[in-house]
């Protein structure tokens, strides 16, 4: 399929170049500037390499591509099996796109233990990419848990006041949930003798897994709970605001931008892929939770006095859209869910960077500490507004496309889902524009804010790519959808087959 010379190795390269960079950093002397430059170059090279994927991806053929499948451990039967389709490809590129920006935004803001910081960041990047590229469930689970350690350390060591509490809460919360998925993976291995996603999926769809009908609901739930906590789906979301508020900016960007998508990606790939029948039968309460998340997250976001908590709760709302789209089982809904994942990664990543810029100047995220900032910081205010508008879902920016497709899909599934979800367009305008007004408009209320510096060079370099990406994705979403659409179709095509099989028994 992908006939060029790089393609068989590209996924291995993209996944492990950051780790190699991290190893390189460990042996380098502690000269902070060198460390930063190397970290930036490594993340930039990774991004460049990852662009190989969309360039050489066969959109017409679809399916898993750039595949590499080597036996790794014979007993238990673990494979080094990696491949991507139109769904995971963009999540890989999202990760590699955001990481260099994370390096940039941390350029001057991380002063202590610079070396450790960037080592952790690069390890995290490898783990995140690995989650999206692995098709072997063992490998997947390995990367899945591997994201926890660097992220928890980034929060716990480099975070703000209550960093240890937040780090432990984050670690425990998501780890406990993951154990249920591990149990599910082990059950599947015990009954199929394989960790391979494709093998297991085919066995299940042919009805060749013993005791599967009886266990399927539990397996579905085991995977689902792990993903739902990661998303986070209401009511499993309370770890998120704490983690965000305490995390350093780069941590927040990757946490909201990529880490949460591990959950929705997992639902799309594993819940729908392995357990289509159970996905259908459980859809109604999951949709209900997603809708609660959309509205509840937005309303709670609206009344947050802390900017970062506000953005965190807005993520609960946005990720609710993603789950709503996935479980609508419509082409439009799933396409939209994928697009919201990417758009949210860009816009919320951008918002967290912008919040970090303010924290760097005033060491607080309290909205009441600001006001009238548009006067001393016009460029910052304009950049902020641009990202806010992307997040609000203004047409021609990226938020709109995904939300529209999700809501359309949800409406086609059941009108009331679409109607309730569509109230989100009102709420998002409420909480974001209100926050924007309190921070930027009016007269400067705290004299100290008069002297705040506008955006610095490295800050522009970190934020503006997000703004540009938001616009390109909004104007030419077709570039992304062309690859997403066939992958979603493939996922959906598996559903009716399963239905007829079960019905036929």
């Amino acid at each position: 399929m992908n006939t060029d010379t790089l393609s068989p190795y590209i996924l291995t390269l993209v996944t492990f170049v950051p780790l190699a960079g991290a190893l390189l950093l460990t042996v380098l002397p502690r000269r902070d500037r060198d460390i930063r430059v190397i970290a930036f170059l490594v993340s930039l090279i990774t991004f460049g390499l990852s662009l190989h994927l969309p360039v050489y991806f066969h959109r017409v053929i679809g399916g898993f591509q750039f595949e590499i499948d080597k036996s790794w451990i014979s007993s238990p039967n673990i494979h080094y099996h990696m491949a991507i389709d139109g769904i995971s490809m963009w999540l890989v590129v999202l990760t590699t796109f955001l990481t260099p920006l994370c390096v940039l935004i941390s350029w001057k803001t991380v002063h202590d233990r610079v070396k450790e910081f960037f080592i952790l960041l690069l390890i995290l990047e490898t783990a995140l990419i690995g989650v999206f590229t692995s098709l072997d469930l063992f490998l997947f689970y390995f990367f899945w848990e591997a994201t926890l350690i660097p992220m928890a350390l980034l929060i716990g060591v480099f975070g703000h006041e209550r960093k240890v509490y937040a780090a432990v809460k984050f670690f425990m919360y998501t780890m406990i949930a993951s154990v249920f998925m591990l149990a599910g993976i082990l059950w599947l291995y015990a009954h199929t003798g394989s960790f391979d996603f494709v093998v297991i999926r085919d066995l299940i769809s042919r009805g060749q897994v013993s005791n599967f009908p009886a266990a399927a609901q539990w397996l579905f739930l085991g995977f689902f709970i792990a993903f739902a906590v990661k998303v986070p789906l209401f009511p499993f979301h309370t770890w998120l605001p704490d983690a965000h508020v305490e995390a350093p900016t780069a941590g927040s960007v990757l946490l909201a931008g990529v880490l949460l998508k591990m959950g929705t990606y997992g639902m799309l790939r594993f819940n729908l892929g392995l357990f289509p029948e159970q996905s259908r039968s459980n859809a109604s309460w999951i949709m209900a939770l997603a809708l609660i998340g959309i509205i509840y997250g937005a309303l709670v976001a609206m009344v947050q006095p802390n900017m970062k908590k506000l953005i965190a709760y807005s993520s609960v709302s946005h990720l609710g859209f993603v789950v709503l789209g996935i479980f609508s089982f419509t082409q439009s809904g799933l396409n939209g869910a994928m697009f919201v994942m990417l758009a949210h990664g860009i816009s919320t990543g951008g918002l967290f960077m912008l919040a970090g810029i303010l924290h760097e100047r005033r060491h607080t995220y309290e909205i009441s500490e600001f006001g009238g900032l548009a006067t001393p910081m016009p460029v910052y205010a304009t950049s902020y507004l641009f990202i806010v508008l992307a997040s609000v879902g203004l047409p021609l920016l990226n938020g709109f496309v995904g939300e529209f497709l999700v809501l359309n899909g949800a409406f086609q599934a059941k009108p009331i889902y679409g109607i309730l979800g569509a109230t989100g367009v009102i709420w998002s305008a409420c909480y974001l524009l209100w926050m924007f007004q309190r921070v930027f408009y009016g007269k400067v209320t705290h004299p100290i804010n008069n002297g705040l510096a506008d955006m610095l060079g490295f800050e522009k370099a970190a934020v503006w790519p997000c703004a540009i990406a938001a616009m390109v994705m909004g104007v030419a979403p077709i570039l992304w959808l062309a690859a997403i659409d066939p992958a979603v179709q493939a996922t959906l095509n598996a559903l009716p087959q399963m239905v007829s099989k079960v019905v036929g028994q």
Binding site: V168, F171, M172, Y173, I176, V179, F180, A183, G184, L186, W187, A190, H191, N211, A214, A215, W218, T238, Y296, L299, V300, M302, V303, Q304, T330, Q331, S332, N335, G372, A374, T375, L394, P395, L396, F404, L407, N408, G409, F411, Q412, P415, G418, A422, T423, V425, A429, L433, W434, Q437, Y441, G442, K443, V475, A476, P477, I478, L481, A482, D485, Q489
Partner: protein, 654 residues
């Protein structure tokens, strides 16, 4: 259908202007900014004129597909959906196109004078050009989704321009309010679009309307088309400031006055009327939806007009007048007289644009003062403004042969055919309109000057702070020329309606298929009704003259005798206060106390933390160890996992 590859240039040209001034304006000279700001909308206007000259009333629509935008699914499969950047021009969009580019260009010129001293000069024109881009996209769209780009985009431009003087809290709040209230309308619009996709598989105007065309009118009960119609109307109510979503428009007067003229009078607020007219194929088959449109329009017309009587801020009077006039346009559409609605949309763009620009000229003359009680006698200081505003007032009051007379008369006549109650309320509204508009004219220009120049300084916004001293002065030529052109249009703009000329021009769009039961002797009825409405207009004029010129002590007496009723009207029927109490406060308080501090912290988070504490205590007791948090959590995980795995293995092997 004819391909016309120039269509997409019309909206894109102002976008280029917005981008250039937005990125480079901060460092450019004022002259350069002005050149860019005027050239691009000017070119768009020129291009629109060129296209118009080649476009007869019989011409087939022009179309152009620029590029793919969104596509989901594959052709032939269920749920296939696509929307392109596609443009469409027919007689209806041509009228809108000329109004938007023409009036828009005039207001750009005017703004060069009005905003000349503002430090945000480049920013203002960048936003104004951006508005033109979105408005023209809205007007030229060939599908609902591209229309929605323009629809939301003009909302953004409106938000930016209302809050242009963002250091003023009231301006910032007004901008936010406009955006959010519009979003409530957009919510309905979106649901309407989902319904259209669900049943017609497309959002392209031509596809949708072709599929709607063969459907029967839903005369017996509400069906799909009624639902779509009402949902679209919810969107239109937001954008066109109809009950119950009109509340943002009066507040929008916080923006600079040229913005009020262009966006909040002449163009953007008419987008809802345009959208309803564009969807006439749907509405014609949904009589119940039409009735709802007519009722909302009629009520809004009357309701807003009554508030207009009591306002003393010159721009607020005009704002409520705009809401009221938009109500007329809705009334027309609801009566099935779409061309009459569009006719009034056009004449209203002339005279209301002029009224706002004139008000701007007045405000400019008296150093930023907007309270009419501190004006008076301005006719001798600013004669050109007085004359042009006089013409506009005659036009809006419906005095023949000014423009408003023709279009309003057309609406009232069509409304009468739908139901006589619409006509009656419409005619009463015409009387009230005439009254409060002449009240405005007399309070501002007649009598003696009541202002104290030096004191008015405090009221001045930043652009005109330096005009606070000395006598009221006439505006510069760059502001007066647009006034004069618009005055000319307000004078003769209605003549295109003679012998139903305007209606014939729009016939390719609206057709004559909508059956209008012309009863015997209707010609006489028409003349009689026209006589009544002209009589009403003059009554309003005379009343205003008596109350505000010959017996100026009377209004206070009347107000006092009306007591609480007068207070209610003066306070805009307390609608803002009611909304705040019924919707906003419970939402904010409920979100804070119940959802966040209650559910989120007490219920969910405490449960989780207690579970963790519980696990720690258990492990403490079991192991008699000084456990830290991490260990106890780990123990909890391990035991939990063990239970689950054991259960599953037992279950799997059974």
């Amino acid at each position: 259908m004819t391909q016309n590859p120039y269509l997409w240039l019309i909206p894109t040209l102002p976008l280029a202007g917005a981008a250039i001034n937005g990125f480079l304006g901060r460092r450019s000279s004022k002259k350069a900014i002005t050149t860019i700001a005027l050239t691009f909308p000017g070119l768009a206007f020129a291009l629109a004129l060129k296209i118009a000259l080649g476009f007869s009333s019989a011409a087939a629509p022009y179309v152009f597909n620029l590029a793919h935008w969104i596509r989901s699914g594959s052709l032939g499969l269920p749920n296939y959906f696509t929307a392109d950047f596609a443009f469409y021009l027919d007689q209806l969009s041509l009228v809108m196109l000329l109004v938007v580019t023409g009036v828009g260009f005039l207001i750009h010129i005017y703004s060069v004078g009005y905003m000349s001293d503002d430090p945000g000069y480049y920013r203002f024109f960048s936003y104004l050009n951006l508005f033109m881009f979105f408005m023209l996209t809205l007007v030229l769209a060939n599908n609902y989704l591209v229309m929605f780009i323009g629809w939301e985009g003009v909302g953004l431009a409106s938000y930016l321009l209302i809050g242009f003087w963002f250091t003023k809290d009231s301006a910032a709040s007004a901008g936010k309010k406009a955006f959010i209230v519009n979003r409530i309308g957009d919510f309905g619009f979106l649901i309407g679009l989902f319904l259209i996709i669900q049943h017609f598989g497309s959002l392209n105007f031509t596809d949708v309307f072709a599929k709607v065309q063969p459907l029967a009118a839903e005369t017996t009960g509400a069906g799909l088309l009624t639902a779509i119609g009402i949902l679209l109307m919810v969107g239109a109510c937001g954008k066109s400031a109809q009950i119950p979503l009109y509340v943002w428009l009066p507040d929008a007067m916080e923006g600079p006055t040229p913005v009020s003229a262009l966006i909040h009078a002449a163009t953007m607020v008419t987008a809802g009327v345009y959208m309803v007219a564009r969807s006439h194929v749907i509405f014609e088959r949904a009589p119940m939806a039409l009735t709802v449109v007519a009722i909302i329009g009629t009520l809004t017309a009357l309701f807003a007009a009554t508030i207009g009587i009591t306002q003393t801020d010159i721009k607020k009077v005009l704002a409520y007048s705009t809401v009221s006039q938009l109500g007329y346009m809705f009334m027309a559409c609801g009566a099935g007289a779409f061309s009459a609605g569009i006719f009034h949309l056009m004449t209203h763009a002339f005279f209301k644009g002029l009224l706002f620009l004139g008000a701007g000229s007045v405000i400019h003359a008296v150093g930023g003062e907007q309270d009419m009680r501190k004006m008076g006698g301005l006719r001798s200081y600013i004669p050109w403004t007085t004359a042009t505003m006089g013409i506009a007032t005659l036009a809006i009051a419906g005095i023949p042969p000014f423009a408003g007379f023709w279009s309003k008369d057309e609406i009232l006549w069509k409304a009468y055919q739908a139901h006589w109650v619409y006509w009656l309320i419409g005619a009463i509204t015409a009387l009230i309109t005439s009254f409060y508009m002449f009240r405005l004219l007399f309070m501002t220009f007649a009598g003696d000057y009541r202002g104290t120049q030096v004191d008015s300084h405090g009221h001045a916004h930043s652009a005109h702070g330096d005009h606070g001293h000395g006598e009221p002065h006439e505006s510069p030529a760059v502001m007066l020329v647009p006034l004069i052109i618009l005055a000319f249009l307000s004078l003769v703009g209605g003549l295109v309606g003679i012998h139903n000329g305007f209606e014939h021009f729009l016939e390719p769009v609206f057709g004559s298929e909508f059956p209008k039961t012309i009863t015997e002797g209707s010609g006489n009825t028409e003349w009689l009704l026209m006589g009544f409405s002209v009589l009403f207009s003059f009554t309003g004029l005379i009343l205003a003259y008596v109350l505000y010129v010959s017996k100026p002590y009377l209004p206070a007496k009347i107000a006092a005798s009306l007591g609480a009723f007068y207070d209610a009207v003066l306070n805009k029927y307390y609608v803002d206060e009611i909304y705040a109490k019924v919707f906003v406060k419970p939402l904010v308080d409920g979100s804070t106390k119940i959802l966040w501090q209650g559910v989120d912290r007490k219920v969910i988070d405490d449960t989780v933390n207690n579970a963790a504490d519980g696990a720690r205590q258990v492990s403490d007791e079991v192991r008699h160890m000084q456990s830290g948090n991490v260990r106890s959590y780990a123990g909890w995980i391990a035991s939990g996992a063990a239970v689950v795995i054991a259960y599953m293995i037992w279950w799997g092997t059974r």
